[in-house]
């Protein structure tokens, strides 16, 4: 399955390509980007490469996944947005529904890009998963910028979770 191309006012969401990897790896090694992802640890190039492959493989196996986000003006790779099945354990409140995630490089923060890209992905998801299907997202406690993106995108917090001993907020919405 080749990811569809989605266009917004300022962004293009398209398939991840091999040429994106150095930019992706640089973001995964940036403490500003990683502060609220996983344990907050920076990823080595090797670890980033494994994640990058998983994102691509998700499209082939599941027919949906994560897009590369490119700035329309200049064509720069600025991050990734999409849906994933993370195969979370059944007892996790986010289990069983497509999970949205987004991550942008530090230079692309504060511009409303995440909200803009998430809106395009949600519109696609409504077609793919069906109107009324449930989507979730999981955000680290304290990640106020992402919490605002979730709220602006129609997600409501309904549960909490813990990972690596750190607090997570779990959000849901109907597509």
């Amino acid at each position: 399955m080749v990811p569809p191309i989605l266009e917004t006012q300022r962004l293009i969401l398209r398939a991840l390509a091999r040429a994106d990897f150095p930019f992706y790896a640089a973001q995964r090694a940036d403490p500003v980007v990683m502060k609220y992802i996983g344990k907050g640890d920076l990823l080595s190039e090797e670890e980033a490469w494994l994640r990058f492959q998983s994102m691509l493989g998700h499209w082939s196996l599941m027919g949906y996944g994560t897009w590369a986000v490119e700035e329309k003006f200049g064509g720069k790779y600025v991050g990734s947005i999409g849906f994933a099945n993370k195969m979370r354990p059944k007892e996790h409140p986010a289990s069983g529904a497509p999970e949205m995630g987004w991550s942008l490089g530090a230079s692309a923060h504060g511009k409303g890009y995440a909200t803009e890209g998430v809106a395009a992905a949600l519109a696609w998801g409504r077609e793919f998963f069906g109107a009324g299907a449930r989507a979730v997202c999981v955000i680290s406690t304290g990640n106020d910028a992402s919490i605002r993106v979730a709220e602006k995108s129609g997600f409501r917090q309904f549960a909490t979770a813990t990972r690596y001993g750190l607090g997570r907020l779990v959000f849901e919405r109907e597509l």
Binding site: G57, H58, K86
Partner: protein, 174 residues
């Protein structure tokens, strides 16, 4: 990307399918399998990320891992293939295709790994041409060291990877 199918006397090597995931996850949750590969059994969640990576590796690079199916039983009995995973080792072999294999304990000792690896080496020569290839093996994994030797690999370095001792073996083009 269409993953090629390779047939040997007793085995079929084919791409992973979504239906393989339960067998894949069960294999990687088996401590006998992970004793010499990775060191610890994988949770279903971690197995899923690994499984997704295999598909992504093929899509990105045009080569990767196959599922090994035993012709006689039709069962998936393991996996083998060629990797580029940018391993952080010293000496580094980042630009050299790496071959790897893993089989269920129930089929160990039948020569399946050797049969699969030889077939993959043939495919690799068609795909890459005559190139140097490497593999890494735990020094205590005597059966896999024998598979490597039978397939023309020779030790060229001993080092550690993620805190575990490994032997790096190479196979030079004929």
């Amino acid at each position: 990307m269409d993953i090629p199918t390779i047939e040997t006397e007793r085995l079929i090597l084919r791409g992973h399918t979504p239906e393989d995931f339960p067998a894949f996850a069960a294999m990687w949750a088996d401590p006998v399998v992970t004793r010499f590969i990775g060191g610890a059994p994988l949770s279903e969640e971690d197995a899923w990320a690994k499984y997704l990576r295999v598909a992504g590796h093929w899509a990105l690079l045009g080569y990767g891992f196959w599922s090994i199916v035993e012709k006689a039983s039709g069962q998936r009995v393991g996996e083998a293939g060629i990797l580029n995973v940018k391993r952080d080792t010293n000496p580094s072999f980042r630009d050299v295709p790496e071959i790897g294999w893993g089989l269920l304990p129930a089929v160990h000792g039948k020569g399946y790994a050797t049969e699969a690896v030889k077939a993959i080496l043939g495919w690799a020569e068609d795909h890459f041409g005559k190139v140097r290839m490497v593999c890494i093996i735990d020094p205590d994994n005597t059966p896999s060291l024998r598979v490597a030797e039978r397939c023309g690999f020779h030790e060229y370095a001993r080092t550690t990877y993620k805190g575990e001792a490994i032997i790096i073996l190479e196979r030079l083009p004929a």
